[in-house]
């Protein structure tokens, strides 16, 4: 509860700073504030509580995921100074929107009531619509914003319809009450229709196949930092929320529903990977790779009762690697028209540190050991086999092999081609974020217990 209030307070403070002409201080103060909030959040981990008639529920799950979101936001804010160099006058807006986005994200994992959940997802989505279109003189960014907005509002509509049906069936928005009522023998059929609609809405946000069509275009068109936000923060938020929705409402995940998850999971992995193989634009490639990672994360739903830890771990591993990769992309594609792979040529010579970071983050996403991505996959695999879905694991293994193909396309460009341009200077923030993100990835790769004990 305190987390949410503090985050919103920080967002308002950002806007006030602009008025008070403290523009230079916005980013440092925000980062410090977020670090403080991170401490505040983690201090609540062992004291579960509910607030405001069960509107907000603080428990280990919400604290662990909120902390992850805050860490990701710190990284994203740290990158903003340099990225918005040319839009200094609007910096307070950008930062404030990011902070509000974070508040939506936190609400989405600590809700105790479906209306709170809907508020959260709307705050998150609207912030993202604005950020996607934030490069307002760029027609691509406008296109991305509008596309995302149109598709996103449809998804929100479906989601809301689902919530209404659940309300119709249960007569309450409260998660705990729904969970209790769903134990009873006779449930009206529209309860299940509601759950399905809710799932569809969330799958859209996650960009799982077949609800993924918006993702590549929006990712490519949106400013790179927004793409980073969408593919790391927004994706894991939606995944965590979907997981929480299905488990907290105690929806008995029936066999039929599991088959649907199996199909969507396999389809997301396969389509995402195969499409990624053909991309020459790195942002698009990462978008498709994100779709396939969504497929991996959906595997967690197959062993829903026990998978919270592995989901958190996968989300952390994936988003840290994603942040590191996007940081390098921001550096390489700064002042460039597009994000073709050829821009990465010779990075190994011009900037060995960032090249190493990008290599490491791609290796992590590909699931090569020592990096966290490996353990993330391993945990999901063991759990999924335990719940009896060997077929999904085999599909996932085959997909991991395919994914190496395109991750290595980038690594090859870095190390075997010659650079076309001279070395450009790298801002400190980029180094700091890239190295820190990958070091964190490595550390949790070597000590997975650090993350797992949060939900232990």
């Amino acid at each position: 509860m305190n987390t949410l209030i503090a985050i919103i307070g920080l967002g308002v403070l950002c806007l006030l700073f602009e008025i008070m002409n403290f523009r230079k201080a916005i980013i440092p103060v925000t980062i410090l504030g977020l670090i403080g909030i991170l401490g505040l959040t983690l201090s609540e981990i062992n004291s579960p509580a509910t607030y405001h008639n069960n509107m907000i529920v603080v428990n280990k799950f919400s604290v662990a995921f909120s902390s992850l979101f805050i860490v990701l936001t710190i990284f994203l804010v740290a990158l903003s100074d340099n990225f918005y160099e040319k839009h200094q006058t609007k910096i307070s807006d950008y930062i404030a929107i990011k902070i509000f986005l974070l508040s939506g994200a936190v609400a989405m994992v600590s809700f105790g009531n479906l209306s709170m959940f809907f508020l959260g997802i709307e705050i998150l989505s609207i912030s993202l619509y604005v950020l996607a279109a934030s490069d307002r003189m760029n027609i691509k960014s406008n296109e991305a914003g509008l596309k995302y907005f149109l598709m996103g509002s449809f998804a929100s509509g479906i989601l809301l319809f689902g919530i209404c049906l659940i309300y119709g069936a249960m007569g309450t928005f409260d998660i705990a009450e729904i969970s209790e009522l769903s134990q009873s023998a006779e449930l009206p059929s529209w309860f299940f229709i509601g759950i399905v609609l809710l799932t569809i809405g969330m799958l859209f946000k996650i960009a799982a196949v077949p609800f993924h069509f918006w993702a590549p275009d929006v990712y490519q068109g949106a400013p790179a930092l927004t793409t980073a936000t969408m593919s790391t923060l927004a994706k894991v938020v939606a995944m965590a929320a979907l997981y929480k929705l299905l488990t907290a409402m105690n929806v008995e995940i029936t066999y039929g529903f599991q088959i649907v998850i199996v199909v969507i999971s396999i389809a997301s992995m396969t389509v995402g990977n195969i499409m990624a193989l053909k991309q020459t634009n790195v942002k698009r490639m990462l978008a498709f790779s994100g779709i396939s990672h969504a497929g991996f994360m959906l595997m967690a739903l197959l062993s829903a009762t026990t998978a919270a830890g592995s989901l958190l771990y996968y989300a952390t591993a994936y988003s840290l690697a994603g942040i590191a990769a996007f940081t390098v992309l921001l550096y390489v594609c700064k002042d460039k028209e597009n994000e073709e792979i050829s821009h990465f040529n010779g990075l190994g010579k011009t900037n060995p540190i960032l090249a190493a970071v990008l290599t490491a983050s791609l290796l992590s996403m590909a699931g090569i050991p020592v990096f966290a991505g490996f353990f993330a996959k391993l945990m999901l695999f063991t759990q999924t086999i335990q719940s009896g879905y060997l077929i999904v694991v085999i599909a996932a293994v085959i997909n991991s092999i395919i994914s190496i193909g395109y991750y290595f396309k980038l690594i090859l460009a870095i190390y075997t081609k010659d650079a076309a341009e001279e070395k450009q200077s790298t801002p400190f923030a980029f180094y700091a974020v890239a190295v820190l993100a990958i070091v964190m990835n490595l550390v949790i790769g070597l000590y997975p217990t650090l993350i797992m004990q949060l939900l232990g």
Partner: protein, 480 residues
């Protein structure tokens, strides 16, 4: 004192090499690799007089993973092989001037770290991590310092990488499956779990994919010749001398222990796959024009026979496999060094462009001759002992298999001697060929000395490996 310290030392060596700068890198790497080899001998000595040099500590709570390094005779033999070859490989490459040499020497040491880890690991996940980790340095060594056309090299190396990762991912799936039975990844527990015949079959197959690609066995060998040819010689030596032994070792250590029934039921098939590789490798080697490619195919033939021996599931077969692994490790490194020596002087490895080197360089010719003879398993070289034991064990399974396998000795002698004749003998070559330098001489002498010494006196190695192989066989035969 335990093997953990050994691994840490190698890692420290790699780091020190990387930090020492391009000028000093090769010397620092040599210093560390020799020191580490010395430490390994010290450990081996302690092991022989009965000290426990294994290491065990919990690592990850959920899922349960242990940091367990199990040093038995077999593992120690492989570790010492790795650490003996590493300084030779580093020393023999002094004449090559690498760009960014601090990185390549650090990568060599790092790779030796990962390979030692693979031999020692007693937990599936730890093992898998080392297994994959060893792939990353060789990928960059072959990619960045390799020779030939950059585009072609890239294709060959990426194919190799994707191929091997693909295989090992199935192994990972097998581990995940085994985990659901034992709730940890310990090899000792895997080796005790009672799997049905059907389960064993699929797990065996998953492992087989990983190892058949790494070793390589036909029909999974198509990456090999290209990568051997395109890699720099240090990379080829690492690949052929040590890395393919990871696959062979894992067959003994992991595959046969976890799923022995499949190997027993289908014994004729798996031995036949090995022998088929031997024959195929020998025949293809006959037609090679490039010296490095020829050696690659000869290597394919040798590992085929080793695999066949290992799959006989007899003590003789397994022991022969281990002996031949060690012998082959030395001889193939020596042969690739010879190829490199020729390449340094003539800038080519095409056999037909050579010839008449003998009169220019008698010392080099003698060394090369000994290596060629060792490779075709002439007594009293170490290779003879290995090859003979292997063929004997195969004859216990089926006499015709042994006859077929035996023909490869004849074929091997034919293509190796023909190559030697074309490349070294004949009319004096018009181009000058300076005889071996001191550096090359020392490297070759060490290799030849090892091959001859253990050829005459193999007892230390046999004594070292036999107890652990016997307990391995007990575990393999546990289903009666």
């Amino acid at each position: 004192m335990n093997v953990l310290l050994l691994l840490i030392l190698i890692l420290v060596g790699a780091l020190a090499t990387f930090l020492s700068g391009d000028k000093l890198a090769s010397k620092v790497a040599l210093f560390f690799s020799v020191a580490i080899f010395g430490y390994a001998i010290l450990l081996l000595n302690q092991f022989n007089i009965g000290y426990d040099i294994s290491y065990l500590s919990p690592w990850i709570a959920n899922p349960k993973v242990f940091m367990i390094l199990e040093a038995d005779g077999l593992a120690m033999a492989m570790v010492v092989l790795t650490l003996a070859l590493t300084p030779i490989i580093i020393f023999s490459s002094f004449a090559n001037k690498f760009n960014n040499s601090k990185t390549i020497y650090a990568l060599i040491l790092f790779m030796s770290f990962a390979m030692c880890g693979t031999f020692l690991a007693g937990d599936g996940i730890l093992y898998y991590m080392f297994w994959e980790l060893s792939l990353i340095p060789i990928y960059f060594i072959a990619l960045i310092w390799g020779n030939g056309d950059a585009e072609e090299r890239k294709k060959a190396v990426v194919k190799f990488f994707i191929y091997t990762i693909a295989g090992s991912l199935f192994m990972l799936a097998a581990f995940a499956y085994l985990f659901t039975k034992t709730h940890n990844f310990l090899l000792v527990d895997f080796a005790m779990v009672n799997l049905t015949i059907n389960e064993q079959f699929w797990i065996f197959l998953a492992f087989f994919l990983a190892y058949a690609i790494k070793i390589p066995l036909i029909p999974f060998h198509s990456w090999q010749a290209n990568v051997y040819q395109k890699s720099p010689t240090v990379g080829t030596m690492l690949l052929s001398g040590i890395m393919l032994k990871m696959g062979l070792y894992s067959v003994l250590r992991w595959q046969l222990q976890i799923a022995p029934l499949t190997a027993k039921i289908h014994i004729y098939i798996f031995v036949a796959i090995g022998i088929a590789g031997t024959i195929y490798g020998s025949i293809v080697a006959l037609r090679q024009k490039d010296l490095k490619r020829l050696l690659a195919y000869s290597s394919l033939a040798h590992v085929g026979l080793i695999t066949a021996g290992a799959y006989t599931l007899t003590l003789d077969g397994i022991r022969g496999a281990v002996l031949q692994m060690i012998a082959h490790g030395f001889v193939i490194v020596g042969l690739f060094l010879a190829a490199e020596i020729i390449n340094r002087r003539y800038q080519t490895n095409t056999i037909n462009e050579l010839g008449g080197i003998r009169t220019h360089a008698p010392k080099f010719t003698s060394f090369f001759m000994i290596l060629v003879l060792a490779s075709v398993a002439l007594p009293p070289t170490f290779n003879f002992i290995g090859e003979f034991t292997l063929l004997y064990s195969i004859s216990q399974i089926n006499l015709w298999y042994a006859v077929l396998g035996g023909t490869t000795i004849i074929l091997g002698a034919y293509y190796m001697l023909k190559m030697f004749q074309t490349a070294m003998l004949g009319e004096t070559n018009k181009k000058e060929f300076s005889d071996i330098t001191l550096n090359e001489g020392i490297s070759l002498s060490i290799i030849v000395a090892v091959l001859l010494f253990f050829g005459l006196y193999p007892k230390p190695i046999i004594d070292l490996i036999t107890p652990s192989l016997e307990s391995l066989l007990v575990s393999i035969n546990r289903f009666g």
